[in-house]
Symmetry: C2
Subunit: 588 residues, 2 copies
């Protein structure tokens, strides 16, 4: 009899009595009272198979020999478990398979770590044996979720008339951005391709070509030193549209995110998503990607302390900086002097010279700097900070960016330490009106904060010539729980403005043409107004899957040194291969 294979998790009491065929892996074997129990795992899940000498002695004999991760084939009958052995934690826990036969399809050595979730294994070992690591339940779930998320997004974009299009991977190296991965050309001696950091210019050209609505799950590359949440190659959901305003693009993206959350997480988010300018995000949260799941907001008290007797405060304000504070409500008693010293050490990491503090006790401020404040000052301060008894007030007085960075980081740390974060909450937030340019003291010139193709907001265009630092960009970032999911902008679509932008960035006319001539050309041949957004797909999956490490959302990730312990990439190659590329290795 040929039996069609059935999947483990599809079996239930409805199939009791049926003759079935299973193929899969030995998840676990137990020998008990003359019987052998094997949990058989396939892509769908796990089912228990029982080998009983009363059913088949020969099957039992084979079953006694199999070990974890063997690939086996089992024929048997679905039987109901008796009440005492029903396992309610298992999807198939009400039944088991009474095995009539078993054959070993492939043996397995004892795996370097168990496939059962929760095993504590070093990441290097996990990556070297990634094919075993990926068998773990939580990894299987993550990549199913990744698949599902991709399909939901695709379906949404299909339904909205977007075309999925593929842009090249062998592209031109351009300045302005992160470091490119380069690919030496064999045909064109001394020339190089670059792997794309994003399909930015190609998607703009697709708009000039009149397609109007493009998307791609685009692989992007950055040869930068890696942090925990960076990978040399990553995937972004890349979207570009013509004739849509910033508000249109934001509204459409929100619909997409809403659908994603509903379909993948079963969570209905309410629209519109909150919007906040960059300036507001910085002054209230000390961050351009604030986590709004908790309060602990920054309060600017510069005006109150401008003339304070406490010189640290007054001089910070006088020298163009500021003083901001966080009210850690009802925690005054919980923080000892030593605790606060630790917080002081923490803010120093971010360049703060110190952390001033006050505690509210019976309506009065206490602490070493309390003496600098009159009763009236204290009242104003407490009012500004809505401070009450047992509140702990923490102050940083410094240059503006130091105040924001240190208190922003402190805010995060306190929320974590005080367990203020609801991990079931998904707080989305748009951050808008970014600065268009950033001045780099060392290079002595402006750099594009986003990229050189981002449009200034219309009202600021005229400032571009005489006051570049004040120009806001028509750019928007989508933030989730303190993580930047991605961002976008309205692009420059007029040649003159793009030329002006290159000029502000310090490009000579020749250099601009040399590097970006094809874009300037394209803008002259009927370029529509356009804009778009790119969302980090790996990070979205990470947050939806409740993971904290980006590497858990990428099938075959690289380590922090951009290598792959599984295949040993990168590796040495033959001299012939190198010679073909007209290059040679250099002893540094």
């Amino acid at each position: 009899m040929t039996r069609k294979r059935q999947l483990a998790s599809e079996l239930s009491v409805e199939q009791v009595g049926e003759q079935i065929l299973l193929k899969g892996w030995v998840q676990k074997r137990r020998d008990l009272g003359g019987l052998v129990f094997i949990d058989v795992r396939d892509r769908s899940g796990v089912v228990q198979v029982v080998f009983n000498p009363d059913v088949s002695e020969s099957a039992l004999a084979v079953a006694e020999l199999v070990r974890s991760e063997y690939v086996i084939e089992v024929k048997g009958e679905v039987v109901k478990r008796n009440q005492a052995t029903v396992n309610p934690k298992m999807k198939t826990g009400a039944i088991e398979i009474a095995a009539q036969s078993i054959s070993v399809i492939n043996e397995a050595k004892n795996p370097p770590f168990t496939v059962l979730d929760g095993a504590d294994v070093s990441e290097d070992v996990r990556l070297k044996y990634r094919y075993i690591d990926l068998r773990r339940e939580s990894m299987q779930q993550t990549f199913k979720l990744r698949h599902q998320a991709a399909q939901v997004i695709r379906q949404f974009l299909n339904d909205n008339d977007f075309l999925e299009m593929e842009t090249p991977m062998l592209t031109k190296s351009t300045p302005e951005g992160a470091r490119d991965y380069l690919v030496p050309s064999r045909v064109h001696q001394g020339h190089f391709y670059a792997l794309p950091q994003s399909p930015q210019l190609f998607k703009q050209l697709i708009m000039v070509a009149g397609f109007e609505r493009y998307f791609q799950f685009a692989r992007c590359f950055r040869d930068e030193d890696l942090r925990a949440d960076r990978q040399p190659e990553f995937t972004q959901i890349d979207i570009e549209t013509s004739f849509m305003s910033q508000a249109d693009i934001i509204a459409m993206t929100e619909q997409m995110i809403k659908k994603l959350m509903t379909k993948v997480k079963g969570i209905e988010i309410s629209l519109p998503i909150q919007q906040m300018t960059y300036d507001e995000a910085m002054s209230r949260y000390g961050s351009d990607k604030p986590d709004t799941r908790f309060d602990l907001e920054l309060v600017d008290i510069s005006e109150l302390v401008r003339n304070s007797d406490f010189k640290v405060f007054a001089s910070a304000v006088a020298s163009g900086g500021k003083v901001s504070a966080i009210n850690v409500t009802e925690q005054a008693q919980a923080f000892s002097r030593k605790d606060i010293d630790k917080l002081t050490d923490f803010v120093k990491i971010y360049g703060a010279k110190g952390l001033a503090w006050l505690k509210v006790e019976e309506g009065v401020l206490k602490g070493p700097i309390a003496k600098f404040f009159t009763e009236a000052d204290q009242g104003d301060l407490m009012k500004a900070l809505t401070a009450n008894d047992n509140d702990l007030l923490l102050f940083v007085a410094d240059k503006t960016d130091v105040v924001f960075n240190s208190l922003g980081a402190l805010r995060q740390k306190l929320a974590k330490d005080l367990n203020l974060i609801d991990h079931n909450q998904f707080n989305f937030l748009w951050v808008t009106d970014w600065p268009l340019l950033e001045y780099d003291e060392e290079a002595g010139r402006y750099f594009a904060a986003h990229h050189p193709f981002t449009s200034p907001i219309e009202a600021d265009i005229e400032k571009l010539g005489h006051d570049p630092s004040q120009v806001k960009a028509a750019a928007y970032d989508l933030v989730l729980n303190g993580f930047e999911l991605g961002g976008g902008s309205i692009r420059i679509y007029q040649k003159e403005l793009q030329e002006k932008m290159f000029e502000v960035l310090g490009f000579s006319r020749e250099a601009a043409v040399d590097e970006f001539g094809f874009l300037l050309d394209a803008l002259e041949y009927g370029a529509p107004p356009h804009g778009g957004i790119a969302l980090g797909f790996d990070r979205i999956v990470m947050l939806l899957a409740g993971k904290t490490n980006l590497r858990d959302t990428i099938l075959f990730p690289k380590t922090a040194s951009a290598s792959d312990p599984l295949t040993n990439a990168p590796s040495l190659v033959s001299n012939e291969q190198i010679n073909d590329l007209h290059i040679q290795l250099k002893d540094d």
Copy 2:
């Protein structure tokens, strides 16, 4: 009044009287009898807009200034055309827009070539101005079809439980295959990544990881000299499954192709698709990817002429080669001596020493070699070739591969010249039972015909040690109208067999471990039987779109020298970039 933008092709007589807003490109402007007519094109299609001084003099004045490819915005009313001016060739030909206002969103220089289809433009110019080239109707259609085809395939694979998964682009260079594109590592001095020629090993590892059903639209790279139907980067529909037999995989692929043909072309193909062994394909069609839309089959007459007085035939057979013939039915009179001389020149390209011929006239063979055949021989020959009056018989006698290659090519040429091909027909064909190995005289060793991970068919495994050239592979190619759409195989899943395979390929044990140790390891930890298929997506789109050039199916393709005339990739890069990679340029 704010009006919502409407798309050109969505307008019809149903909207007559409605006030609408259009945004798009000036496809064509005509001035006629004091009116201006502009065909406005957007992503959906084209609609005619009329500027009439009776409606708006100011709009007319602007309209008189706009030129081809300007980006404009038009407000107006949908009006019915009078019967005489209805254009049945145009989807929106029953209506036009009476313009109330127009504004120019962006101007356009006179384009280097017209966007109207059919313009004869050199490919270099088309590629340099790709953003204009892509505006053409047929290009827009091709990329819509490409999108649609991708979505149909994705949907099918989703419905069949496949997970879409992404494999790395920065991988390890491996021997055995085409030339890799290399990426120098900055972090690991002297080491290189390779861009993948296919995700072959990763998809096998995904099977070892237990996912069982994987797919990807995978970008692949080959640094080879390019032909018309090759690109340095291309996209393949990459599929891998566990526990499925060759027959299972073929049947599933057929379902996918059937769905694709139905949804994208509206053509119902009947299943199963014809299957043919490699040996049969070669002997009947002289090709491993035969176009079965026409006959002109090869007939092996070696046995008939083994003892012929015509020494050319007899000696070809005696020295281990063969004699095959094509019967070009009812064409004897159409081919002059001179015509046949040209065919002779043609087969010489493929290494044939000559082309023998005979014509059937009144039941008798005529031609310079007729005298070598007795009446009985002639009868046998005509019977074998089912030859009748006015048939032209063409013979090649040579080594087997020369006979196949030359007659295979001649068959294609004759079908084209004689117009025997029905271009509306889609003839799919499986070619199976490929040779596993090919002997390379120069290298003095065997190479994998497909790749070193392809399994021999089970019956031939034991031959691997003593008679490798006779081993057939469990490999299958899908052919459409003479083009290879792609192919697949059952993979080796047992370590011993994989080691044996490497040994046959001349790898020392150390070299095998060095290059493929991670695969050999993986096969030891519970590898399931697995196999898959990879289909060339660009080529599928090309054939479905009725194109003959692969470059018309890729948004931003490379030229034959692997460069991009649009962006000028590859390009020179800075010394700093090169230094970072621990390489230097070499003067060859």
